[in-house]
Symmetry: C2
Subunit: 409 residues, 2 copies
Amino acid sequence: MPTVSDRGKLMPDSPIRKLGPLADKAKEMGRKVYHLNIGQPDLPTPPEALEAIRNIDRTILEYSPSEGIRSFREKLVKYYHKFNIEVTVDDIIITTGGSEAVTFAFMSCLDPGDEIIVPEPAYANYEAFAIVAGAKIKSIAADIEEGFALPPIEDFEKLITPKTKGIMICNPNNPTGYLYTQEEMNKIRDLVKKYDLYLFSDEVYREFCYTGAPYISAFHLEGIEQNVVLIDSVSKRYSECGLRIGALICKNEAVRHNVMKFCQARLSPPLIGQIAAEASLDADDSYMLNNYNEYVNRRKFLIDGLNRIDGVYSPIPMGAFYTVARLPVDNADKFCAWLLSDFEYENQTIFMAPASGFYTVPNKGIDEVRIAYVLKKEDLAVCLTILKEALKVYPGSKVREKVAGSEIN
Amino acid sequence: MPTVSDRGKLMPDSPIRKLGPLADKAKEMGRKVYHLNIGQPDLPTPPEALEAIRNIDRTILEYSPSEGIRSFREKLVKYYHKFNIEVTVDDIIITTGGSEAVTFAFMSCLDPGDEIIVPEPAYANYEAFAIVAGAKIKSIAADIEEGFALPPIEDFEKLITPKTKGIMICNPNNPTGYLYTQEEMNKIRDLVKKYDLYLFSDEVYREFCYTGAPYISAFHLEGIEQNVVLIDSVSKRYSECGLRIGALICKNEAVRHNVMKFCQARLSPPLIGQIAAEASLDADDSYMLNNYNEYVNRRKFLIDGLNRIDGVYSPIPMGAFYTVARLPVDNADKFCAWLLSDFEYENQTIFMAPASGFYTVPNKGIDEVRIAYVLKKEDLAVCLTILKEALKVYPGSKVREKVAGSEIN
């Protein structure tokens, strides 16, 4: 049998999906599994999108342009304008999800051996896409005690080598929910300018900022317009993860020229997805406001609940719909697997993503999990109870030890 | 400004799409442009697929499994069985078009510097996907005089080095329409077995074989079951290019394990596309038969017509819906560009793909074009007239020279 690629072996297992088989087994045993592991919102897709799909009147489902349907891109120009992001139709290239946008950005800007600096914990698949491009991620761990604020910019600068080509951020952040401040963004801007780096900025959660603090796009930073590659997606914004529609937005023509070659090779992004995504831009304000309010409530409810469980700590996320929480356990990977394979509370259990998969710094996040608040409040209440009960009996629980210890004394 | 990647610079411009801007200009000038350049069928998508899309009753368009929807994969097992391809649900991984299937196959099996051997002319994007994977294509040119039959297997063997990891074929072939014989496939099998290579086999045109000669799938070859990676797509079969749904089919578990990591990184293939593709498998026999008969007629009409034009020669393609024809011109790249920018016949012109982009062997195919017979017969008749008239006046035409010469004598 021929050997498989080393690159494939290097690819990390998805921290979000790797415990899936255990969840499937739990379900086969008749257990209800609450999915807190994956950023799949339970909120409805805009009716405008569903209507557009149902009203498709084509007889042939043909290729669309490699860069995406023009009318959709024109509408996106207006959408970004609302966030003071001033781009032209030519700056916008539609991709097959945000995933493809990151992949094409890396492919177009980085060569094998090139390095990018990423603050961690970070969306796990950045590492995967870097491996696809043969590039290397150098990471700096943010600290849960600091609420996952941007690590000191001096730490970024220390990592810069002649191979460093860029910095990648996610803002608002997945998995931490942190929202970078103007001051932090300015520091990033200065470093990008000083070393003429790319700034890859994943801003798919811009609609979900909860504290009144402003959302600072990479395109709001003056003087680095040619260095910014913005990553976007309709998945989370409109509960349209299944459409696989994203965008790569860049004012640098040389980058776009490269990106278009990768776009042409894969022919076109999904047609129906684009039609639905375009229609979603017509969703009325109440759609987004309802979703927003729902997340505000869930966030408050979840974070309060987590911090009331003995030994659990979660910073207060400012955006997106995740939090990274610290649990009183020996190892969150083991705990999350155990929850699915060995635990049930009233025949129910929870599926969380161990945070270790969001770090490349060894041993970081060993007792942390990412929780997505994509379930309604009543379900989150059950999840909190399950977590609390599980921590009482999990063999590697520090709370259990304490309880056991106090029983002896 | 930071520099862009060398990999991006290496990426070929699409030979199918690179003349697009010239076509756009011609259209802006009010000219009708007949698209013979791209394999975008004008035949209808199955009504079952359109109906499935219109009947979507979901309120959330969520992620599907990374490997694709199970019921779709189950139905594909039965579909392949009809072609004596015996695979299980686990062997089938749904991809975002055949493009992603080729990319993931290369990514999972090949490391940077690894080589694959490809008979040419070949689908241009194999080269692009090889560059994405950092792999190298070594090519052997098939000859138009031999009707693009498989070049001598000894020529393949001569190219094998310690870096050679596989052979890639497309059968029935894009761009030539050639269908490999049992004897040719056996020779490929023996070489694959002897050197323990991968056989990447793109079989997206299996429904379109016109000569009564059997379609030999790579999975029909005994003894190399673990070496075969089959590439498939619903794009051409059902006129569903816009859905972006393909498949990678492989019995080698180690390969599939690698492929699944790339699949998980991009989360999932398009949801609506899968629903439509699954419904397409219910299309009744008359749907495929009508399309088949239409291509049979067009093929006869086009090839007859081409060979009647002075100096033009096309072999008779046995499958798919393309032919590679030799034209009496100095340079087909120039001629195809000239047709769009400088020529019109009754305010109409044709867009053909220069064949040079389907070869990596230098100077091969310099006077050849790929023509897709994806237009109805009446349109093909107009195209033939345009081609004939163009050859009379194109400055680099050899027929023109002859005419001009005979005028002098």
